[in-house]
Symmetry: C2
């Protein structure tokens, strides 16, 4: 069935053009999904604009997908037409390596198949993401959206949500822990909610004094303006965990000094070389830990949805008409969204 799709155009041409792609016929383990909502992740912008030099055009971004099942393959037992489901950053993996066996498909030794700009492991076609009417995904990589969740607000849980939830759970954040959240964008605001739901006392670090009230409204019991040295020094040695959502280079050393002994600084946004350089003494003195974490595996992705349903947590979203995607990208780049754009895919069908 050919379908209308939106894609962000190549290089300098910032236009939105309709494009027709063929979704594959159902394999036995496939779930066909009519997409209702798709979150806008900063990664989408990097791919749409080929910031990382690896984009294969045409690209259909989007990996925070929520929709309804329209059909299932012959071997699918966990989903049926009408189910509200989600798809995140991955649509396949090797399934046999140690990480895959452990349900940590994001660390698949052969590399997971990304939801877009990836390569299908069977027919080797390029994968297309969620800025689209429909998607077909193997059932292992489909999750159920609990009824208690608003489907639009659930979409960003598939990337921004799981990315912050997974390390907080992996490192066992618990009641009474002092957790710092660095950055208050799509990821950071979810980190605040999760840490608070786990019983932690949450401090938000922001460079912007004007965000202090916002951070408190999100649940932070303390807000530290990271450019204020006196505030930073007063907090030395007091944190158990630091959830660092900043995706650009920044000095980690002042934050490491804020950790208690045995404290852990978790990077979920930074993929660059650490500059200014990490001071190794900040790890050795205090037996501190610097760790990284990438989205989450499929069992835990279901887990974050269930956790949100149980705790009444949702992402704060601004609904978006897909015809405004390029303006939305510019606003995301400026951090001008509270806190995640979600495309209402009905706006695509109007054009279809």
């Amino acid at each position: 069935m050919p379908q209308a799709n939106a894609y962000a155009a190549q290089s300098e041409q910032s236009v939105l053009a309709p494009h027709t792609i063929e979704r594959r016929a159902l394999r036995p383990d496939d779930v066909a999904i009519a997409i209702d909502y798709c979150g806008v992740c900063h990664t989408d912008i990097h791919f749409a604009q080929n910031d990382w030099g690896m984009t294969q055009y045409p690209v259909v971004p989007g990996h925070e997908i929520v929709g309804r099942v329209t059909a299932v393959g012959s071997a699918v037992s966990g989903f049926k037409p009408g189910d509200v489901v989600g798809v995140g950053c991955m649509v396949d993996s090797c399934r046999h390596c140690d990480p895959c066996q452990e349900g940590l498909e994001q660390y698949c030794l052969e590399g997971p198949t990304l939801t877009y700009n990836g390569q299908d492991r069977h027919d080797h076609t390029v994968t297309f993401g969620g800025y689209s009417e429909a998607i077909v995904v193997s059932d292992r990589f489909v999750v159920s959206i609990p009824e208690a969740l608003d489907p639009a607000a659930a979409a960003p849980l598939l990337c921004a949500g799981i990315t912050t939830y997974s390390p907080l759970r992996h490192y066992g954040v618990k009641a009474g822990d002092k957790v710092g959240v660095i950055g208050m964008g799509g990821l950071g605001h979810m980190g605040i909610k999760f840490a608070k739901a786990l019983g932690a006392e949450v401090t938000v670090f922001t460079r912007s004094p004007e965000k202090v009230d916002e951070a408190r409204a999100q649940g932070a019991s303390q807000v530290i303006v990271s450019t204020d040295e006196a505030q930073m020094e007063a907090a030395a040695g007091s944190f158990d965990f630091m959830l660092d959502t900043v995706p650009v280079q920044h000095d980690l050393n002042p934050y490491l000094a804020l950790l208690r002994h045995d404290g852990t600084h978790i990077l979920v946004g930074l993929l660059e070389p650490v500059e200014p350089p990490l001071n190794a003494g900040n790890l050795v003195f205090g037996r501190r830990v610097l760790a990284g974490s990438l989205i989450g595996g499929m069992p835990e992705t279901q887990g974050v949805l269930d956790f949100c349903a149980a705790h009444g947590i949702a992402c704060d979203v601004e609904m978006l008409d897909i015809r405004n995607i390029n303006e939305a990208y510019e606003r995301v780049k400026k951090g001008d969204v509270k806190y995640r754009f979600v495309i209402d895919m009905a706006t695509l069908k109007v054009d279809g």
Copy 2:
């Protein structure tokens, strides 16, 4: 009682001069020790030669001390004259902060009192270390040397030993784990022995192809020449733990790539800025951990001695006449010792 002491001379004067210091009268919790052996740690050289700009002369280095109890204070019940005992890198701490309460005195929030070039918490005098006939230390910072251990070979366990033992235990290295040990000096050769005694399969990383046989003789089941890119690439993703004993700047990225997902790289030697810069992606992809560790607390320092007694582990030492200390320092700087110099303090008394 005034005693003869050796000290490495200031700055450029590489001479050995006798110096008389007064050891304090016993406080109720004090243990007076006649020193028989003292290991030579690279840190001693840094302090003797004021490499870190913080030396207070005269300095008496030495924090791998083994000797016999000569007297105890009125409140000491755990030691009696004649006991063979050890003193490591610390002689006091605040005793009331969280780390101290947890037996992690090395992370004392007020800073532990170092065995030499530290400041006594009571009389504010400078502390003098183990290149000496005697030392007086509060009982909390004295450990028992098990009878099964050769006292000379036990001395380096107080620093080189505990420094490598502590993180292997803290991170739960166990039978079947694949452990890499980077560097094969005083610390590294102990790391090999401990990891092997814990049941791990040990690989040694060395820049020197001529050290391959040595490393195997120490118990390594595999040796990788770290400058050989093909060998490094072949080992990608295969290690659970990396014990990094290198005290100078080196590129961590090729080693991080050798870790499995959830693997841990432990720094015990490096205190400098990490250059070339750490690539954050190496932590995020694979959920890898970069951690630091500093010596060990007092309960664990007793623990490493007991572990060595139980497992027949000793440090490989070269006995040293203290009159040759300056030559020994030059050899340590060149890595020309297998694997730790230990001063026979009887050679000091000859001069006394």
